[in-house]
Amino acid sequence: MMDGQVKERIEGEITGSDVVLFMKGTPVFPQCGFSAAVVQVLNHLGVPFKGVNVLDDMSVREGIKEFSQWPTIPQLYVKGEFVGGCDIVREMFETGELGDLLNSKGIAVEA
């Protein structure tokens, strides 16, 4: 079970920025190909986002899986809402749904 402090920290991250990516590594130096792929999509759309490096904190790395009921990293949140992992972000980018979702939440995209 995740302790209350970790849950609070995660909630703070997902409500503290419009677009939050829980990832391995940082937006500049992703340390996993799946995290890198999502960073690339967000950069392509010109969307500012907060990267949370789960490798910095084992409790967040495990806690976010339980919090989202999702067993893998990366995980993308938009306005506090779980969007999905790498497969979903890539698919939604390809179909244009990701841009539409961001727009519908009032977040400007470039492409």
């Binding site: 391995k24 996993c32 893998t72 779980f82 698919e91």
Partner: protein
């Protein structure tokens, strides 16, 4: 076939009776990168078409698959790329 790959395929067939299922062991492409266990059973790609996914969101589809493969994900499987479709998509 790799035993983990075999387990993934058997469990998915039993749970979803898919119209189409391809399980691919992608572990060799990740051997040696940071965090890769180098077991040869760490990275898999799954493409599956199943009627069970009809009407479910992308997130719900993947959660269904993650639930069926919980044991593998808690064990040897480090990454699982999923392409999940309902028939006709």
């Amino acid at each position: 076939m790799n035993p983990v790959e075999q387990a993934i395929e058997t469990k998915l067939r039993a749970a979803f009776s898919p119209e189409d299922l391809v399980v691919e062991n992608d572990s060799h492409r990740h051997a040696g990168h940071a965090g890769s266990p180098g077991t040869g059973s760490s990275h898999f790609n799954v493409a599956m078409t199943a009627a069970a996914f009809d009407g479910l969101s992308r997130v719900d589809r993947q959660r269904r698959v993650y639930a069926v493969l919980a044991e593998e994900l808690a064990g040897p499987v480090h990454a699982l790329a999923l392409r999940l479709k309902a028939p006709g998509e």
